[in-house]
Point group: C2
DNA sequence: AATTTCTTGAGGTGCGTTACTCATCAATAG
DNA sequence: CTATTGATGAGTAACGCACCTCAAGAAATT
C-alpha cells in the first residue's frame, strides 16, 4: 500500500524525473513516443499526484467570486449566508470565497462588476445571472479571459457558462401543478397564479410547467391569468387580496416567485386559508411557519446550501481541470409538506 | 494577502518554532502562560495551518470502512455503488474507503466483522446497523478502541455511535401519511399497509408517523393492519394481491419498506393501479418507472449519494477532531412525484 | 562537416508542517 | 551544592511535487 510517486513512474518508464515532470505538466520539448512511454507507466502504476504535495508546491489558491442579488429576498439571503459560511470554513483549504452583493435589476452594473474581473484576481465566478444581454456578454468575455463561470439558480443557457447550478424550473412548475391538481378535489375550480415577472426565465419556466400539467392531467381546473407582483410582498398581498375578492370560486393559489409573505398575509386575512390549496417556492422562516399552520400546503424548494457547495466544487474542478461528477452536482427539486420540514427553520447557525 | 505561517506566529509570540509546534499539536512540555502567548498570536494573526503542508508532512491517511448490507435491495445497491465511486475519486485525497458487504440478518457475523477492526487498520466506520444487541455492543467496543463510528440509514440510538447519517423515519412516515390523505378523496376508505418487518426500527417509525397523521388529520381513512413481507418482492406481491382481493374498498397503499417491485407487479396485475393511491420508499429504476406510469403516486426517499458523502465528511471531521457542521449534514426527506424525478434513473455512471 | 534545434538528463530549491533530537538554562528537590 | 526535572531554543529530515537551470547528446538543417 505504498504511494506511487513520480520516481516510480520515471523508473518504469525508463526516463528521468524531469521528463516525467514535463509530460505530467504539459511542458514542451518532449517527443511523442516518450510522452506515450510515460503515460503508459502512469497508467500501469495507477499513479495519482498527491494533492497535498502538489497543492503545497504550486502554492495553489482558489479565489472565487460569488455574485448574489441583495435585497429583501429570503432565499437570496440564505444563499449569501451559506456562501459566507463556507468562505470562513474553507479559508484553511486555500479557498477564498468572496461574496459580492449585486443589484439583480441593474444589468449594466452587474456587467461592469464582471468586466473588472480577470484571472489575476479571481479563479472562478458564480453568478445569479440577471437575464440581460449585457450580462450574458460579460460572462462570455470573462470566460474568454480564462475565468470559469457558473450560473447559479437562474441560468443563461445561451452564454458560454461552463455549468449551471440550479434546478429545472419547468419540472419545478410541473411538480407544483401536480400537487395542486392532486390536493384539490376532482371538480371544476379556479387556480390563481402570482409571479414576480414572466419576463424572468425561471418564472416563465415554472409557469409553463404548471400549465402543461394542469391542462394535460387536470382539465377540470382553470388557471387564471398570472399576475405579476415583482416578488414584492406588499404588491403580492394586494394582488392576492384582489384575486380572492374577484373570484370567490378560486380554490388554488400558486405563487411562482418570491414574496410569499405578502400572499400569506392576504390569504390569512381573507379567512379562506384553510380552504385554498396554496403552493409556493423556497423554504424560508415564513413559508415554514405557513406550512405548519396549514396556510401553505406545499413548498417547492431548492437547497441553497447544496447549491453553494456544488458551485464551489464545480469551480474547483474547473480550475483544476478535473472532471465534474454530474450525478453529484444535480440539484434536487425538494418538496416540503408540513411533515418533512428540516428541524430548524434557520438553516445555518452563527456557530 | 500573504500567508501567515508558524514562523510569523513564533515571531509575534516571541517564542521558537518548536514551542509553537508543541502548542499547536498539543504536545506536552509547555508552560501555561506560554501556551496563552502562542494562542494569542494565533488569534491576532488569524493563523490557519496550511492543509496541504500539514497533509503532506503528516502523511495522513483516512481509512474508512463502510459496512453495507448486500442482497437484492436496490437502495442498498445504490449506497454500495456510491461508496465505491467515492472510494475511487477520493483515493487521491488520501482517503481509502473500503466497502464491506454484510448480511444484515446475521447479527453475530456483523458483530464479528466489527470486532476485528481497530485503529491500526481503520480510522472510521460507517455501518448500516442491524438492530441486534451484539451489533450495538460491537459498535460500543469499537469506539472504546478509538475508532469513530457513525450509523448509516438505520440508527442505533442507544449505542455510543458518534453520529447518525440518515433521515427521521417518523417524519418520513408522517409525510407518506399526509400524501395519502391529501391525494385520496375526502371520503371513507381503507389504506393497506405493507412493511418489511415492524421489528425494524425504521419501519416501525414510519408506521407510527403515518398512523399519527392519518388519525389526526384524516379520520375518515382506515389503516388496515400492516402486513410484513420482509422486504421480499415475491412475498410482497403475494401480500398485496391478497389485500386487494380481500378488500375491494382499499383506496390507498403504503409500502413502508423495500420490495416495491412486488407491490407494483401485484397492483399492475389487479388492474386497479390507476385508482389506488400508492406511496412507497426509495428511488430506484423500478419506482421511477412506476411513478412515470402512474402506478406509484409518490415516493419518499433519501439520497444515497448525500448519505455517503455526509458519512465521509463526518468521519473525516471526527478523525481530525474538527467540528461537524450540523446544518450541512442534515439528510432531507425527499418527496418525488413523476414530475421532479432526476433526469437519469441510474444515479451514477461508470464514468 | 559545421551549425542549429530538439530532446533528455541531472540536480537543485522551495512550499509549510510535522515530529523529531539535542542542547540550554532555570528552578527545584535532595 | 549537586542532581533532577521542566521549559524552551535551535535545528533538521522528511513529505511529494512543481519549477527552474545547465549541460550534453541526438537529430535535423545548412
Amino acid at each position: 500500500m505504498k504511494r506511487v510517486t513520480i520516481h516510480d513512474v520515471a523508473e518504469t518508464a525508463g526516463v528521468s524525473l524531469a521528463t516525467v515532470d514535463r509530460v505530467l505538466n504539459g511542458r514542451p520539448g518532449v517527443r511523442k513516443t516518450t510522452i506515450e512511454k510515460v503515460q503508459k507507466a502512469v497508467d500501469t502504476l495507477n499513479y495519482k499526484p498527491d494533492i497535498f504535495a502538489a497543492g503545497l508546491a504550486k502554492k495553489r489558491l482558489y479565489r472565487f467570486h460569488f455574485l448574489i442579488p441583495n435585497g429583501p429576498n429570503a432565499f437570496m439571503e440564505d444563499l449569501t449566508r451559506e456562501a459566507a459560511t463556507h468562505a470562513q470554513t474553507l479559508s484553511s483549504d486555500r479557498m477564498h470565497v468572496h461574496v459580492e452583493p449585486i443589484d439583480a435589476f441593474d444589468g449594466h452594473r452587474v456587467a461592469g462588476t464582471l468586466a473588472i474581473l480577470d484571472s489575476s484576481v479571481c479563479d472562478g465566478v458564480a453568478v445569479v445571472a440577471p437575464a440581460f444581454p449585457e450580462v450574458r456578454a460579460a460572462i462570455d468575455r470573462l470566460q474568454d479571459r480564462g475565468v470559469p463561470v457558473v450560473t447559479l439558480v437562474s441560468d443563461h443557457p445561451s452564454s458560454t457558462r461552463q455549468h449551471f447550478v440550479g434546478i429545472d424550473n419547468v419540472a419545478a412548475g410541473r411538480t407544483a401543478g401536480r400537487l395542486l391538481g392532486r390536493f384539490l378535489p376532482r371538480q371544476p375550480a379556479k387556480i390563481a397564479l402570482v409571479a414576480g415577472s414572466l419576463g424572468l426565465r425561471d418564472h416563465a419556466d415554472r409557469y409553463a410547467g404548471c400549465r402543461a400539467v394542469i391542462e394535460a392531467d387536470f382539465p377540470h381546473l382553470e388557471l387564471l391569468k398570472a399576475r405579476e407582483g415583482r416578488d414584492d410582498n406588499a404588491r403580492n398581498q394586494d394582488l392576492v387580496q384582489r384575486l380572492l375578492n374577484d373570484h370567490p370560486d378560486v380554490a388554488g393559489l400558486y405563487n411562482i416567485g418570491a414574496g410569499n409573505r405578502g400572499a400569506i398575509a392576504a390569504l390569512k386575512a381573507s379567512g379562506r386559508a384553510d380552504d385554498i390549496v396554496f403552493v409556493g417556492h423556497e423554504l424560508t422562516p415564513y413559508t415554514s411557519q405557513a406550512l405548519r399552520k396549514n396556510i401553505l400546503d406545499a413548498v417547492i424548494a431548492q437547497d441553497p446550501g447544496h447549491e453553494i457547495r456544488s458551485a464551489i466544487r464545480v469551480l474547483k474542478a474547473l480550475s483544476d481541470g478535473a472532471p465534474i461528477i454530474e450525478g453529484q452536482e444535480r440539484i434536487g427539486i425538494d418538496v416540503f409538506l408540513k411533515d418533512n420540514l428540516p428541524e430548524s427553520p434557520d438553516v445555518t447557525k452563527s456557530t
